[in-house]
Amino acid sequence: MRKCSIDNINDVLKALSEKIPLYLPVDRLDGKATYQKYQEGKVWSNALNTERSAKDFFFPQMENLVEFKTQGKNVEVIDIRDEKQDFIIFGVRACDVKSFEILDRVFLSQPVDTFYKSRREHGIIFSLACSKPNETCFCSVFNIDATAPAGDVTLWKTETEVFFKANTEKGEKILSEIDSLTTECGEETVNEQREKTKKILSKLPLSDLDLTNFGVGKTKALFDSPLWKEMSSTCLGCGTCTFVCPTCQCYDIKEFKVGDKVTRFRCWDSCMYSDFTKMAHGNPRLTQAERFRQRFMHKLVYYPDNNDGLFSCVGCGRCLSKCPISMNIVKVIKRVGGKENE
């Protein structure tokens, strides 16, 4: 393990970004933290997390897939994929790091999504341990250790210092390149912080969420619950929950045409939208109740069914703070899971 003084973190960021483009959470004028490309003057945010998740780095909101040239009856397919360059994402929280594993299982399973894969291979992740989790955090429910996130390098930040620990070969290599800016150190301070944080985590209001009634094989027990209709009755179908969600991965493929050139792109889509499943001859999910059910059943039952019981939620809490009608996965877990005293 190595460390540097918090006063020298800008030197570290500068040194890293001179080698490889580096993105880190920076406070916007409105106070929200967003990932921005590092350049001198950018200050590493102290916010608990970024407003949007880190999934954009590997699965951007919109990306071009392929181009076509059409002329008369002829069509030409133009592969526009380019070689990606290495980049660093600095300060990714444990929840978002876990979301990469959940997305990997979708995009890297056969047939591999090469757009996602090439970004993933070029991304170097500096994760950041949590020390002051929020009331809306519930990552521990999904067995995520917020005090020791994965990634190529794990960071711990205290009032005075930043600690670095490499977890992968990639991580070791990049840390060795900034050796002169850090010093070797013991793990005592980090362990102390971890113990303190673990105590806070165990006392968080959502830390005792019970997932027993969800997971593999629970479709039949939950699908016909009358609660889906009741709980979705105020849902606006705005899709905000899906856009801020680090694990939501549904996408649409669309095109635009300029002259004889057609660009086919993919963009995030939402199962909360009425036209998501609409076909020429009808729609299997006609009402918001069915779309609402799809979103939560996917995260809590269908995804686990296909992925060894892994839930497709990391407890980041973004949907809790963003939903305009204050509906969220926690309420669903409590009520549909049958654990809330009404």
């Binding site: 009856k73 039949k220 996408y251 086919r264 889509d269 299997p284």
Partner: protein, 276 residues
């Protein structure tokens, strides 16, 4: 880039357009080099697109045993299909695939008496299986085909049915139309009722494809004759974008129609929510 990317299609050329019914045309597709775009199994699908209009999933109606080209029977009912219906011979489109799990023609179907029940454009995916089973005739028992549509003019592949299927030993074709029509001396009535009237022996393996209402009542009819749901297959259709189980919209419960289907056995469907 050396990696193959499934979302990037290749070019296909329409080399023949056959009008089957007032709203169904069958398109023959090859590559610009004049060969079949790719190999497939009966029941699998392909993504066809017209850049600038859109992309959609279609069942491959030609049999894998056809080594020269692929055929798609397409009903005019939306943006992409409407455009395709206006396309002429020589038009280039894009194609990618094959997608989905095929009918178990090389295992569960082997040695079985087969019963195919289709309604309207529902014959399109079954034609691939029927012609595959005809090609490897010795692998299967008897073949019964019940096919119905609104009228005589709405029967797909009528020429092939009459000239080839009906004349083949061990293949029994039972055609029906919904209402009496001049020039039609065959059976009149809905497919589910006809299937019950034909009173098939219950040792058959059945495959159903057609409008949801036809499937529902034919399934009930077969079960009342004594068929078990493990003997009956169908093929589902939901909206798709990627075709490979990633875009997230064609799921029925934990199963993706594009990847785990489109072919399902009815006992498998019983395990899934009825959201299709």
């Amino acid at each position: 880039m050396s990696n193959n990317e499934v979302l990037i299609p290749t070019v296909g050329v329409i080399t023949d357009v056959r009008r089957d019914t007032p709203d169904i045309k069958t398109f023959r597709v090859v590559t610009p080099n004049g060969v079949k775009p790719f190999e497939h199994k009966p029941g699998q699908c392909a993504m066809l697109s017209i850049p600038g209009v859109g992309e959609a999933m279609f069942s491959i109606t030609s049999s894998p045993t056809n080594t020269e080209y692929m055929e798609f029977s397409i009903k005019k009912c939306g943006c992409v299909t409407e455009w395709l219906h206006s396309a002429e011979v020589g038009q280039q489109i894009t194609i990618r695939g094959p997608y989905g799990k095929p009918f178990p023609v090389d295992d569960e179907f082997v040695g079985k008496d087969l019963l195919f029940v289709a309604g309207g454009v529902g014959l399109a995916p079954l034609r691939s299986v029927i012609n595959y089973c005809r090609h490897y005739r010795e692998r299967y028992g008897s073949i019964d085909i019940v096919y119905g549509s609104r009228s005589k003019d709405d029967l797909l592949d009528y020429k092939e049915i009459i000239d080839e299927w009906s004349n083949e030993e061990g293949v029994n074709v039972h055609l029906t139309i919904d209402n009496p029509q001049e020039g039609w001396d065959g059976h009149v009535g809905f497919v589910p009722n006809y299937v019950k009237e034909l009173n098939f022996s219950t040792n058959k393996t059945a495959v159903l494809c057609g409008p949801p209402i036809m499937i529902k009542f034919t399934l009930e009819g077969l079960c009342s004759l004594g068929f078990d749901k493990t003997q009956i297959y169908t093929t589902l259709e939901l909206r798709m974008k990627c075709g490979v189980g990633k875009c997230g919209r064609c799921n029925v419960g934990s199963k993706y129609v594009c990847k785990d289907g489109p072919v399902f056995r009815f006992d498998e469907l019983d395990e899934l929510p009825s959201e299709y």
